[in-house]
């Protein structure tokens, strides 16, 4: 064994350690797609709210509000599907380009560590709605999502930690501005995703023009 082989062995060890703990195929383009879906969703939700207020629906009793709630829930589900769909599609594409499998042990780790704070957040938000605190839903979404990202960052592209911190910060600020929930939600899930996705694409995926 010579020096060159030893160096190769060491870099092999490093590569295996990295690949068995980190999911490196997250795509920046997926982030941009999710951000655009969120912005479209926020715009639709804003229109739904305006229609509702225009019809004099403000605080006019639960029965009339149920129509609005139904519209908002439908919009939220559509956004979730579109965001997950584009995110998964571009990540799947990137994994294939790298010759890696999408559903490997490291991907399962990322999803698990993301899912724990998200599930807690989901139940917390159901609790907020149950206690008729809809103004706190957007801040709670942002904070729990940020915690999920910060938690999962150990198992994927480390940069995602900064997106997590930004979401948490934005969520806390939103907490003190309860009447601008939708605006903060659009900033956090729309604008931040697009900015993060573009930065990641620039840093890791762009094919430099030469």
């Amino acid at each position: 064994m010579n020096e060159q082989q030893h160096l190769e062995t060491l870099s092999d060890i490093k590569r295996i350690m990295e690949r068995s703990t980190r999911f490196m195929s997250l795509s920046g383009l997926g982030g941009i797609g999710a951000g655009i879906s969120a912005l479209l969703g926020a715009w639709l939700a804003e229109r739904a709210l305006e229609d509702h207020y225009a019809a004099g629906g403000l605080y006019s009793g639960r029965a009339e509000n149920s129509d609005l709630v139904f519209r908002l829930v439908m919009i939220a589900l559509a956004v979730l599907l579109a965001a997950l769909g584009t995110g998964f599609y571009f990540t799947w594409r990137k994994a294939r380009q790298q010759g890696l499998r999408v559903w490997d042990p490291s991907a399962r780790k990322v999803l698990f560590h993301l899912a724990v704070p998200l599930a807690a957040g989901g139940l917390f938000i159901i609790g907020l709605l149950y206690n008729q605190q809809p103004a706190l839903v957007a801040p709670a979404c942002l904070v729990f999502y940020g915690l999920g990202l910060a938690n999962a960052a150990k198992y994927t592209v480390t940069d995602i930690r900064y997106l997590g911190y930004a979401e948490i910060l934005l969520g806390v600020i939103a907490m003190f501005n309860p009447y601008h929930g939708l605006l903060f939600w659009a900033l956090g899930f729309g604008v931040l995703h697009i900015v993060y996705g573009a930065l990641m694409w620039w840093k890791y995926e762009r094919i430099p023009a030469e």
């Binding site: 020096e3 060491l10 295996i16 068995s20 490997d104 042990p105």
Partner: protein, 98 residues
């Protein structure tokens, strides 16, 4: 000093070294996950795992998920020490020859 003496014979196999690398940074890993990460066949991996087990470098945990057996592996204190020693020897040899 002859640093070659510190290289561990057991880690001469790339697969065994790979298994140790995975177990160093993951608490507990299943047979299938090891197979996937290291891209090796069942029989090949099994024989290397039993060598590592015989040398008490790894521990085997046999469990069940429903009716299917789920075997997981983790590194032992001795395995950790041997692996670190092997890495240190590799590094020393690189510095030695420079």
């Amino acid at each position: 000093m002859n640093p070659i003496g510190n290289l561990n014979k057991i880690f001469e196999s790339r697969i065994r070294l790979g298994v140790m690398s995975v177990l160093m940074v993951n608490e507990e890993v299943s047979f299938n996950d090891l197979k996937e990460v290291l891209e090796v066949t069942d029989g090949n991996l099994a024989s290397h795992l039993s060598t590592l087990e015989e040398n008490t470098y790894i521990k085997v945990h046999k469990g069940f998920i429903g009716r299917k057996t789920n075997t997981t592996y983790s590194i032992t204190k001795a395995g950790e020490k041997a692996f670190k020693g092997h890495l240190a020897a590799l590094e020393a040899m690189i510095r030695f020859t420079q």
